[in-house]
């Protein structure tokens, strides 16, 4: 595995970690959404990097990883649309995007 690929994978791992750091302690729902986007991106990076070094037909490079990334993009778009719509609805309800004030789903 080349240096570049390793680097990309490690960047991807660290980026994912950064995303989790954003998800856990932040309070703004939108920031959390953005952190999730970063995590998805980290995954995309890993997919693209690995897909390049997998043996394909007559050389390196399987395009399957790109297809997965395409799906991830689509799902990310769906997630963003629904997530932001939820945040909007939330804001109307509570006048806030702070997830600390949301404890409605308790038993």
């Amino acid at each position: 595995m080349s240096e570049a690929t390793t680097f990309c994978l490690i960047v991807s791992a660290v980026l994912f970690g950064i995303g989790t750091l954003g998800v856990l302690p932040r309070r703004s729902a939108i920031t959390i959404l953005m952190s999730i986007e970063i995590m998805l991106n980290a995954g995309n990076l890993a997919l693209i990097a690995v897909s390049r070094v997998l043996p394909g037909q007559g050389g390196l490079g399987l395009v399957d990883g790109h297809v997965f990334v395409l799906f991830v993009l689509a799902i990310a778009a769906a997630e963003a649309a629904v997530g932001l719509a939820i945040v909007l609805a939330l804001y109307r309800l509570k006048r806030s995007t702070d997830i600390e004030v949301l404890r409605l789903l308790r038993w």
């Binding site: 680097f7 750091l21 856990l24 970063i38 990076l45 050389g59 490079g61 719509a85 939820i86 909007l88």
Partner: protein, 184 residues
């Protein structure tokens, strides 16, 4: 006239640096901007840095010969998703996040978990070996639109359709959720 010089500088820079070097620069930019997204208290600034993060990741895509995906990354993420996020931020006029989040315990746990995650992933990366190290040469037309299209409409046809269905469902759901009154 610095705006006019920027592309020229970029071209000059591109001519003299190797792919790896560019990759390292883009990666470091991605990491730093990602950190800013997570850390900055102002969501709008965070969102703008998210754009930077996405663009640098797109650059990495392009450097990894995935030109089409790089373009799509910019088009969809930067062009649509983050614009949507910023739009909502501006619509709700969300300013700086108030001080005082969760307690130290949660923060510590988040840090620990994040680090554990990173270590697990790095370990996994270390143990990863692709099928063939040598071979070296990329296949003809790797990452082009046509190759992707072939894969998408033959091998991945049904997943593709399912994803399109998911998108439609998400759109309908988003419209329904965002409507102020359901009677309208």
């Amino acid at each position: 006239m610095d705006a006019l010089l920027t592309p020229a500088c970029c071209v000059a820079l591109a001519a003299i640096t190797a792919v790896e070097a560019k990759l390292y620069i883009a990666g470091i930019v991605a990491l730093v901007s990602g950190l800013v997204v997570v850390m900055h208290r102002n969501s709008v600034i965070g969102a703008l840095f998210l754009v930077l993060n996405l663009l640098s990741v797109a650059v990495m895509f392009a450097l990894l010969d995935a030109y089409f995906m790089a373009v799509l990354q910019v088009l969809i993420y930067a062009g649509a998703i983050v614009v949507l996020i910023i739009f909502v931020l501006m619509l709700l006029n969300v300013g700086r996040e108030p001080r005082g989040g969760p307690g130290l315990g949660v923060r510590l746990m988040a840090l620990l978990l994040g680090l554990a995650m990173v270590f697990a992933l790095v370990r996994a990366v270390r143990s990863f070996t692709p099928g063939s190290e040598d071979g070296g040469v990329l296949t003809e037309g790797y990452g082009t639109v046509s190759q992707l299209g072939e894969a998408l409409f033959n091998q991945y046809f049904y997943p593709f359709e399912v994803v399109s269905l998911a998108l439609v469902a998400a759109m309908a759901g988003a419209v329904l959720l965002a409507k102020r009154y359901l009677e309208d």
